[in-house]
Amino acid sequence: MRTRSPKENQAFAITLRVVTALGGGYALANFVAVLWSHWYPGTQENAVMGGFQLTFLVSLLVAIWVFAAAKASRVCMQVTLVSALLGCLVWVSSPGAFS
C-alpha cells in the first residue's frame, strides 16, 4: 500500500474527524434519546419530548470530544464502539425501535 504524504495524512485525519463527529454524533444522540424516552418515568410523550431536546446536547458533546482528541483514528474507534454499545442497548431494551 502506498504511504500517504504528511499533507494527505492531515487531510485524511480531518475528514475522519468530521465524519465521526457528524455521523457518530447523530447516532449517539438518537440512541441516548431513545434510551431516555424509554427509561424516563412519567408519560411517554413527556419522556420522548425530553429525549428530543437532549439530542443536540449529546451531538454537541460528541463533536467536542472528537475534535479535542489527540488521535483521529483512535477517537473514531472509540465513538464507533460507544455507538455500537448503546445501539445494542437500544435493541435489547426496546426491540421495536429499529423496525
Binding site: 431513545v34 424516552s37 413527556n46 419530548m49 431536546q53 467536542i64 479535542a68
Partner: protein
C-alpha cells in the same frame, strides 16, 4: 503529557473547530440570522407592503367595529363553519374578518379559508396588492425557498447545529469573557475586527444561545425523527398527545346561534376594559356552536388568554389558554419545549422587548458577519511575496462581499419589487421573492469582476441608495408621503419608512468608511498607469490594507 500542554491542545483544537464550524455554513447562517431578525417585525413589514389598507381610526369603538364586520360577514360568509373578527392593535391597525367556506367538490374538496381587510368608513372589503410580505421574508430563515420544506429544515438544522458548535467553542476559547465585553480597540487592524466580533457575541450571548438552541428544537421533529418513531408507530399519535387542542365538533343539528353584537357585551362583562385581539364563532347555527374571545395583551409568554362561551346561550364554557400546556406535574420536557419555542418567536413581546429582540438579532447577524470577515483578515495579514493569497482566501473574501453586502441589496430589491411590479400582476408575491434571489445571485457573482474591497464598497453604496430611495419611491407610486402617515397616526408605516432611510444612511456611511480606509485602491492616477503596474498595485494595495490602516 503535562496538564498545561493538555489544556493548550484543547484550546487549539477548539479554536480550529470554532473557526471552521463558523465559516463553512457562515453565509447561510448570516442569511438565517438577518431574515429571522426581520421576522420580529413581520407584521410591520406586511403593513408597509400593503399600503392600500387604511389604518382604523381610534374613534371607532369595539362595538362599532363589530357591527361593521358583522354586516359584511352576513352578506359574504354564507354557510361558513368558522367566522372571526380581528380588531386593530398597535402592530396591525386593521379591521380584518376571516371565515372558512365549506368544503366543495369543485374546489378539490378542501375547505377554503378567506381573509378580508375591511374599510370601516364604507363597510366594504379592500383589495390590497398581492405581496409575499414580511411573513415570507421571515419564513426564509428556516424554510428557505425553491425546495421542499423537509429538505430546507434539514439544511437549516445543520446550520443551526454548526452555530451552536461555534458558540460553545467560542466560549471555551475565550479567555477573558467579561473583561472583553467592554473592550474595543478601534483602528488596530484585525484586532479591531476581533474586538467587534467579541462585543457582538459576548454581550447578547444568552440570546444567541437561546435562539440557536430553540431553533434546533423547533425543527427537531424533522431533523431527529427516529426519537419519535422509535416509540410511536404513527407520528400523529405523538403530535396529538403533545399539541392537540380538541375543539368540539359540529353536531349537525341546526340551532340558531347568537350574533357577534349580542355576544360582545357578554365578553366585555367578563373582561371589563380589556381590548380584544379577536373573537370567533365556530360552527355557527349548530347545536354545538361556541365563541372564543382572546385578549389583546399577552400575559406572560404562554399566549393569549381565551374566553369560551356557548354561542347559543352565551354562558361561559371553560377558561383555557391558547396552548393547552398548563403547568402540570410530569410535563417538564413538554413545558420546556413550549417555553423555548415561545421565547424564539417572541410573539408575547411588547414594543420595547420587540426592539430588544431585533437588536439582539442584528448583533447575532453582525457576529456571524464579523466572524467571517475576521477569518479573511487574519489570513490576508500573513500574505506576502513568498506566500501569496490562496484561492480559498480569495474565494472567502469575494463571497463575504457578495453575500454579506449582497443580501442587504437583495432585501432592498425585495421591497423595491413590492412597489415597482404592476399591482394587478399574476403571481405577484412569488415574483417579489424571485426578485430577492435574482438580486442576491447577481451580488454573489459581482465580486468576480471587482476586487473584494471594491465590491464591498459598491454593493454597500447600492444597498444604501436603494433603502434611502424606498420612501420617496412610495410617495410617487402609492401617493403616500411620510406626512400622510404622520397625519393619519399611521405609526407603523412611518416607522418602517424612517427605518429604511436610517438603514440607507448607515450603509452608505459604512461604504464611505471602507473606501477611506482603502484609499490607495481608489487613486485616480491608477487609471493612467500602464497595465502591469495596475495589477501589481492592486494586489499590493489589497495585501497592505491593514498596514495602511495601522499607519493612519
Amino acid at each position: 503529557m503535562s496538564a498545561e500542554l493538555g489544556t493548550s491542545h484543547f484550546r487549539q483544537s477548539m479554536t480550529w473547530l470554532h473557526t471552521w464550524a463558523g465559516l463553512v455554513l457562515g453565509w447561510l447562517l448570516y442569511f438565517m440570522f438577518l431574515t429571522g431578525t426581520l421576522g420580529y417585525f413581520d407584521d410591520e413589514i406586511d403593513r408597509w407592503m400593503q399600503p392600500e389598507v387604511p389604518g382604523v381610526k381610534a374613534s371607532y369603538s369595539q362595538a362599532d367595529l363589530t357591527k361593521i364586520a358583522e354586516q359584511y360577514l352576513q352578506n359574504h360568509a354564507v354557510a361558513a363553519s368558522f367566522v372571526r373578527i380581528e380588531y386593530p392593535d398597535s402592530r396591525t391597525p386593521f379591521l380584518v374578518v376571516r371565515w372558512t367556506e365549506p368544503a366543495a367538490p369543485e374546489k378539490d374538496g378542501r375547505a377554503k379559508r378567506v381573509k378580508r381587510y375591511l374599510n370601516p368608513e364604507t363597510g366594504e372589503a379592500i383589495e390590497p396588492r398581492e405581496t409575499a410580505g414580511g411573513r415570507t421574508l421571515y419564513r426564509l430563515h428556516y424554510a428557505l425557498h425553491y425546495m421542499p420544506r423537509s429538505i430546507a429544515y434539514l439544511i437549516t438544522s445543520l446550520a443551526a447545529f454548526f452555530m451552536l458548535l461555534a458558540l460553545i467553542t467560542g466560549i471555551v476559547i475565550h479567555r477573558r469573557i467579561f473583561a472583553d465585553m467592554f473592550l474595543f480597540r478601534p483602528g488596530k487592524k484585525q484586532r479591531s475586527w476581533l474586538d467587534m466580533h467579541n462585543l457582538m457575541s459576548v454581550l447578547p450571548l444568552p440570546f444567541h444561545l437561546m435562539i440557536t438552541y430553540s431553533g434546533l428544537v423547533f425543527l427537531m421533529f424533522t431533523s431527529m425523527p427516529w426519537v419519535m418513531t422509535a416509540s410511536y408507530e404513527d407520528e400523529d399519535d405523538f403530535f396529538d398527545l403533545v399539541f392537540s387542542q380538541p375543539l368540539p365538533e359540529a353536531s349537525g343539528v341546526s340551532e340558531a346561534s347568537m350574533s357577534f353584537s349580542e355576544i360582545l357585551p357578554l365578553v366585555e362583562a367578563q373582561w371589563p376594559n380589556e381590548p380584544l385581539s379577536h373573537i370567533e364563532i365556530r360552527h355557527p347555527d349548530d347545536k354545538n356552536a361556541f365563541v372564543r374571545a382572546f385578549k389583546s395583551d399577552y400575559e406572560g409568554i404562554d399566549g393569549r388568554e381565551e374566553l369560551r362561551l356557548s354561542a347559543l346561550t352565551g354562558e361561559p364554557l371553560s377558561l383555557a389558554v391558547e396552548h393547552e400546556h398548563q403547568q402540570e406535574q410530569g410535563k417538564g420536557a413538554i413545558n420546556l419545549y413550549f417555553l423555548l419555542t415561545n421565547l424564539h418567536e417572541g410573539l408575547f413581546a411588547n414594543t420595547a422587548l420587540r426592539w430588544l429582540y431585533f437588536i439582539s438579532g442584528l448583533l447575532g447577524t453582525g457576529m456571524v458577519a464579523t466572524g467571517m470577515i475576521l477569518w479573511a483578515k487574519m489570513r490576508r495579514q500573513k500574505v506576502n511575496k513568498r506566500s501569496p493569497a490562496s484561492k480559498g482566501l480569495v474565494l472567502v473574501e469575494k463571497l463575504n462581499a457578495g453575500a454579506i453586502a449582497g443580501l442587504l441589496v437583495a432585501i432592498a430589491v425585495y421591497f423595491m419589487a413590492n412597489r415597482l411590479l404592476p399591482v394587478a400582476m399574476d403571481n405577484r408575491a412569488s415574483f417579489e421573492v424571485d426578485a430577492l434571489f435574482i438580486a442576491l445571485a447577481c451580488c454573489l457573482v459581482y465580486p468576480v469582476f471587482r476586487s473584494a474591497t471594491k465590491a464591498w464598497v459598491e454593493l454597500l453604496i447600492l444597498a444604501g441608495v436603494l433603502y434611502s430611495v424606498l420612501p420617496p419611491l412610495s410617495w410617487v407610486l402609492t401617493e403616500r408621503t411620510l406626512l400622510d402617515s404622520w397625519l393619519n397616526n399611521d405609526w407603523v408605516m412611518l416607522s418602517v419608512d424612517l427605518s429604511f432611510i436610517f438603514v440607507g444612511l448607515v450603509l452608505m456611511g459604512a461604504a464611505l468608511k471602507i473606501r477611506r480606509l482603502n484609499a490607495p485602491l481608489y487613486k485616480p492616477s491608477d487609471k493612467i498607469l500602464p497595465k502591469p503596474v495596475i495589477a501589481n498595485k492592486g494586489v499590493e494595495a489589497a495585501s497592505s490594507l491593514s498596514v495602511q490602516e495601522g499607519a493612519k
